[in-house]
Every structure is written in C-alpha cells, then in structure tokens.
Symmetry: C2
Subunit: 437 residues, 2 copies
C-alpha cells in the first residue's frame, strides 16, 4: 500500500481536461499540495492508504473555479449604485467613492469578504486589479486562496496614488516585496487605453516583458470607449495597443464586447486571451463579447465576474450560466456555448489565461490539488442525467459544500475554515454605516 | 388590544404596490387568510395581540413570487436535452419523451417536485400549462400553493389526448370537476397557433368568454414560428389571433420575442399582458422580448420561468436578474429594467396578468397573506444599501427562508412543511432510472 495524505471519493469526478471526462465512483489521491492519482474507488482502496478519507457520495468533484477578472477591494460598494450607465457609474459613483474611502484597512477588509464569498461559491484562484495590493495579498495569504494580483496602473488620482509615476513606483515596490511569496502571482495591469497615455502603456509593457509577467487590461468594454478613442486618436483601442506590440498571447484582454472585422484579424493573428465578463457587460449595457466566433478562431476565452459593484456577485456558477445563455441569444443558436464549454471557460481556460495550465485548471495527476465538491442531491438538481449540465444550468452557489486549495481544505460542509464569517459580516456592517453616512 | 392570528415582524417590508415602499422595522398583522394591517412594529405591539409572533430580524418580507408561465409536469425532463434548437428540442426530444412517459402518476410526482422547488425559492402562485390537470391540481392542494391551471389544448397526440376534440372534452371535464375548488383557478390555454387549427383557436376563445376564463397562449416565441406562419398562412401569428379577436386584456401572450411595428400597434391597441420568460428564451435562442418598449407603451409585463427543461430551474430570483440584465444589454441602456421594475414583474404584474391583483401581488391590508422572507444577512448580500437591489442582483434562492400562502406557513427556515423533501428526492431517482433506460 502506498501512503498518501487524502483520498477524495466522489460520485462524479469532472476532470475539465481538454477532452473532458466525467468519471463515476472515482477517487482523487492527494499528497502534499498535489494530485498524485485519479482512479476507480475500488482500485484506490487497494492501492493507497490515506491519513484521511473524504466521501462526496452525492457530489461532483471538479477543479476549483478560476475567476479571471476581479476587483475584489470593491466589496463594500456592492449595491451602492445600480441601474446606471458605465461612464456615469464609473465617473460619478465608483471613482468618487474610491477616492473617499480607499485605504489599507478598507481594502484588506473588503478583500477578506470577497475571498470568503469566492471560497463559498467554489473559486480557488482569482485574477485581480485594484489598489493597495499588499492588503489584498495579505488577505489572500490569510484566506489560503491563490491570488493573481495586478500591478494596477492608471492616471486617475485617488488615495492610493495620484500620478501614473506614483502608480508605477508603488507597483514596483509591491513586486519587490511579494515576488517570491508562495500563493501570490504578480501581473502587470494597466487599467485601459482611456486612463493612460501611450507612453505609460509602453512602459507597462516593457516592465511586463522584463519581469516576465502576464498583462491584464480592460479593452473595448463599451461602444463609448471605442468612440472616444476614435474621436481622440482616430484609432480603436485595440489598434493602438497593436501598434505598441501589446496584443500577444501574453495579454489578457478583458471585456472585448466591441469587435469589428479588423479587430478580429488582429486578434486571430496575435492570439491574446479574452476575459469574458457577461453579467457585468449586461448590467452596464456594455454589449456582448462574441465568444462563439472567438472560440471558432481558436482564441482562448476565460471567464470573470468583474466586481460586485457591477455584477453583483462573485458567483462563477451563475457566470457560466450567463455566458452560455448570452451567447445563445446573441448568436441565435441554441447550440452556442454548451454547458461543457462554459465549464471549461471557468476552469482550464482560466488557467491558460493566467499561464498556469501546467499547474492548475484541470484534475490531472501532477497538478495542484485545487478542487471543489458540489452536492447535486438537491431537489433543484434532480433528476440528474448529465452532471455538467446540472451544474451549469440548474445548480446554485449554495450547493458548493467543500473547497480545497493546494491540498488544504478551506470550506467544509459550507463552513469557512480559514476565515471567520461572523466577524466579516460585522465588518461589512461597520463599513456600511461609514459609507452610507 | 385587537386579536389576530399572526404578527410578522420584519427588518424590511417591501410592499410591491404600484408605488413601491420599503418599510423598516414594520409588522404584518394576519387574520385568517388575509393581511389586516401593516404598521410600525412598536404600534403593532400596542394594538394587536397575536396567537403567534414571527421575527424576521435580518430579512426582507415581500409578496410571494408569481411564476406566470410554467409547465410543471416536466420536472423529470430537467437536463435531459440541453444546448439544442427550439424545434429540434421540442419535436425530437420533449414531445417524444412526453409521448412515452406522460401519465397521471408521472405528472403528480413531477408536480409535487416542482412545487417543492417553487416553494423553496419563494413562489406562492404559478400559472401552468401542461397535461393531466387533475394530477397537478391534487398536487397543488397537497402542497398548499395557489395553482392557475390552464386547460391546455393542442393537436399533438400524446398519452393525455390524441385529437383537439379529446383535448377539449378532457379540459371541460376538468373544469366541471374543479371549478369551485379553493386554491385552484382554471384558465384556457390553447398551446399556440402552430399546434392548433384556427377553428380550434376560435373554439378555445368562445369557451373562455363563456366561462369567463383568462387565456394563455405561446405567441411569437421564435423567428422560426413567425416564418412558418408567414409561409403557411401569409400572416404573422399575432395577426391571426387579432383577426379572431383573441388579442385583448384577457389574453396572456407568452414569450413574444418577435415583434414588428404592426405587432406593436396591435398590442398597444388591444392591451394583452405579456409573459416574459427571459432565461428560456435565451437558452433556446428564441430572442429577447422587447420589455422596455412594451412597458413604455403601458403594457403589463409579467415574468415566468417556463419549464425546467428549458431554463433549467423555477427560480424567480434568478429570473428577475436575467430579465433586468437581458433588457439592459439588448437596449444598450443600463437604466432599462431597474431592480424595482424586475421585482414588480415577478409580483404585482403577475397578479395583474392572472386577473387577481385585487387579491394578491402586493402587501396591502385586505389582500391574501401570500408572503415570503428573504434573509439578507449573508456575506453575499452584504453590505446592504438597498434591499430590492440586493434581492434582484445579489441574493440567491437559498436565502428564501420562509414562505406563507393564504396565512398558512409552507416553508419554515428552509424546511418544507407540507411536502416531504426526502420522499420527493427518492421519487426523482426512481423516475430518472426509468427514463434513462
């Protein structure tokens, strides 16, 4: 008998490999942070002796969701300003609120709450873009969730920084402090082409190249953004970034609801990942990313929630459903974006966008043991013919019962193990009172 | 002190009246089946003595949701055939499955499961269109939920009936048996213009007129339906019904994703209610009902889930969110369909469509005590600035803790009081095995 730390027995294991498999009555063998085997339960019991065994008898076990675009420091702005147009919402509500409230403690508390919410809905890794990076990094280390933290650069003054120079300086200081911290991955995150001069965009790209970091940028989120760029620069935002060689497989282009034929040519040639945020794009009336066509061109499309101020949750199950439904109704094709494709966008494709698909995004021996259990034995997901369909089209976030990150359990039967839910609710109340007054 | 049955104390009461009000620390006084008073908690404690008091200290109390379009006998087909085009799904999957499996026991069991799901997500009244009406009626009487049961007529043979004559005969037999049953409201429900000859549609209208019943019909659900009508009859379905005087305030036109200018004229002139089923329309790629424009024309728009085979749930919270998001992205206006409007579509507008707005759909003294409690003290709905926004954009169905219908409690802290959840799950398993084989 070989010794392992955990045997995870599941009614179904959904591997989320390129050729996805749904394995019935199988077992994950976990040693340290890694998956060492996936095999039929009977074989697992013959081959392995485990320190602990977990039985998910009515559950699907699958890779943890990767939320590929977040602003998790915005937790306290959830529901503060809804049903507003993007630029009104941004200029007259979000940026003023950020200017007034941002700070180390604010972002730390907001990050912890967002992480609690993410863990409770099965997210094991997120790709963030906000301010006060240290606060988010420290919160992630406490929560035990994998954090990809963008060195967010813009030329909009707030309590974090007042000029792009200061943004760059603070970003590099953060990089130096956290570049070797396990659990934290640093990315370059210039905000957008409308909040940065071209020289700053070039500088961001140079730093990313030098430090070998992924780049994340909001790009062509709305028609107004594209029009503003045409008015000011006589070029579309994508074209401007193409001309400074920023569009490449190293780029995550977030939103991309507006693509003309030339944009499709550029994307096909340069092959960035696209981060699709369907609920935020719908709520802000930004448009619908042409996911079906991008996938047909072989482009990697991953899924993000955006912030709780424009969504208004961090629920990747709901986001998968919205991605599938939005693609069907906008293409007029009910076959567009199947449940299986939506699930892949929330797992393996996210790992590809974050350049960690050799480590995460699917359940394969050798990869990190980031996995979740979803209980499908609720009335709402019965009867059950196809587990993936049931997860994408019928399950809700409260059916996520258990979450593991790197072989460590963060959620057990809906209870958070690394965070204090009651304390976080109390913190939310305190901040609400301050912000509301 | 006046004596009442119940005092329901709530952190927030959302009345859902035409001019919606959010009342803080108020109380509902319930006597028999009716609401007798709504007043500040302090005044309630001075004025009323109650047999029981209920404290919803972190909850919003609001009218129960009205699901204005369902096929609840289809529970066992949830997830059986997804990601398919409407006509393929209908002709090659749903109708054959119905032909094979339909029966009294099947529909009774399926109805109970659907009712359990509806109660668990805050629905107190539904407007159905299926077969084996008695089975659904008896299930509703057991569950304690208000049922509006359509006398469903079509000319597609199945285990219920083989010709439209047989459909009419069975419908009228059902009417005679249940017309005076409390809790059951009977409607006329010709399936569509593509499954019935014009004479049958006229006959359905005549019966509805004679018996003073609301009419429900699927209408212009997809472009293919309209095209088929143009090819065969050289008229659009709406025009055909207009010519037989079926389009009127007495009609609930379900779906209506396809409207041209002439259709808008007819609708504006004749004023039917429109039943909007956004998730089903998205999933089947049927299109998006132009809700914003219809509301501006003064048309009553209510909300339905359609069946779990095309949604795949009966969750009205999710449906409100989808209605708001879909309208925003299709109109390009983030102000279109606010949280408040979406909530009204799921409550008062449903009552109007069902012609019972003098009895239900809002919390007003004199109306039936159909109400639900949603706990907003979860991390996912914190911090809380606007309860309605939080319910529509951030809450999930598991936050519905308590449901009351006609002054009788059906759900208490997530536990069903009139139905046996475990037994229903076992029934779902049995039917799944039969259907899968």
């Amino acid at each position: 008998m070989e010794q392992v730390d955990y045997l995870i027995h599941a009614k179904w294991i959904i591997t989320c490999e390129e050729q996805n498999r749904v394995l019935e009555n199988h077992t994950l063998a976990i040693q340290g942070q890694k998956i060492v085997d996936i095999l039929p339960k009977e074989s697992a019991l013959q081959r392995y002796q485990a320190l602990q065994e977990h039985h998910y008898d009515t559950h699907a076990v699958l890779p943890g969701f990767i939320n590929s675009h977040t602003h998790i420091g915005m937790s306290f702005f959830r529901g503060l300003a809804d049903d507003l147009k993007l630029m009104d919402w941004l200029h007259n509500h979000m940026w003023p609120a950020e200017k007034k409230w941002l700070g180390q403690e604010f972002v730390y508390d907001a990050s912890l709450i967002a992480m609690a919410e993410m863990i409770r809905c099965g997210t094991t890794r997120f790709n963030d873009m906000f301010f006060f990076f240290e606060a988010t990094a420290e919160a992630a280390l406490q929560a035990g969730i994998h954090a990809h933290i963008g060195m967010h650069i813009m030329n909009v003054p707030n309590a974090w920084a007042t000029t792009s120079e200061e943004y760059f300086a603070k970003a590099l200081a953060f990089y130096d402090a956290y570049k070797n911290t396990e659990g934290i991955t640093i990315t370059m995150a210039p905000h957008s082409t409308y909040t940065l001069a071209i020289d700053d965009l070039i500088k961001a790209k140079e730093i990313a190249d030098q430090l070998q970091l992924k780049i994340n940028i909001h790009l062509q989120e709305s028609a107004a953004e594209v029009q503003q760029s045409l008015d000011t620069h006589h070029k579309r935002p994508l074209q401007r970034l193409y001309e400074i060689d920023m569009i490449s497989p190293n780029l995550n282009a977030v939103h991309m609801t507006q693509l003309d034929e030339r944009d499709f040519e550029i994307v096909q040639q340069t092959r960035p990942s696209i981060i699709h945020c369907p609920e935020s794009n719908m709520k802000l009336a930004s448009g619908a990313c042409p996911v079906e066509k991008l996938i047909r061109l072989g482009i990697n499309v991953a899924l993000g929630t955006d912030s709780v101020a424009s969504n208004n949750d961090l629920d990747m199950i709901g986001e998968m459903r919205s991605a599938a439904l939005l693609s069907k109704v906008t293409t007029g094709d009910a076959c567009s974006i199947s449940a299986d494709q939506a699930l892949k966008m929330a797992t393996l494709n996210g790992a590809k966008a974050l350049a960690i698909d050799h480590l995460a995004g699917s359940l394969v021996p050798g990869k990190i043991a980031d996995f979740i259990a979803i209980d499908l034995d609720c009335l709402e997901t019965q009867p059950l013919y196809h587990p993936i369909s049931q997860i994408v089209y019928a399950a809700s976030r409260d059916q996520v019962t258990d979450v593991w990150v790197g072989g460590k359990q963060l959620l057990k039967n809906r209870q958070l193990l690394t965070l204090d839910e009651k304390e976080l609710r109390a913190k939310a109340q305190i901040w609400r009172k301050k912000i509301k007054s």
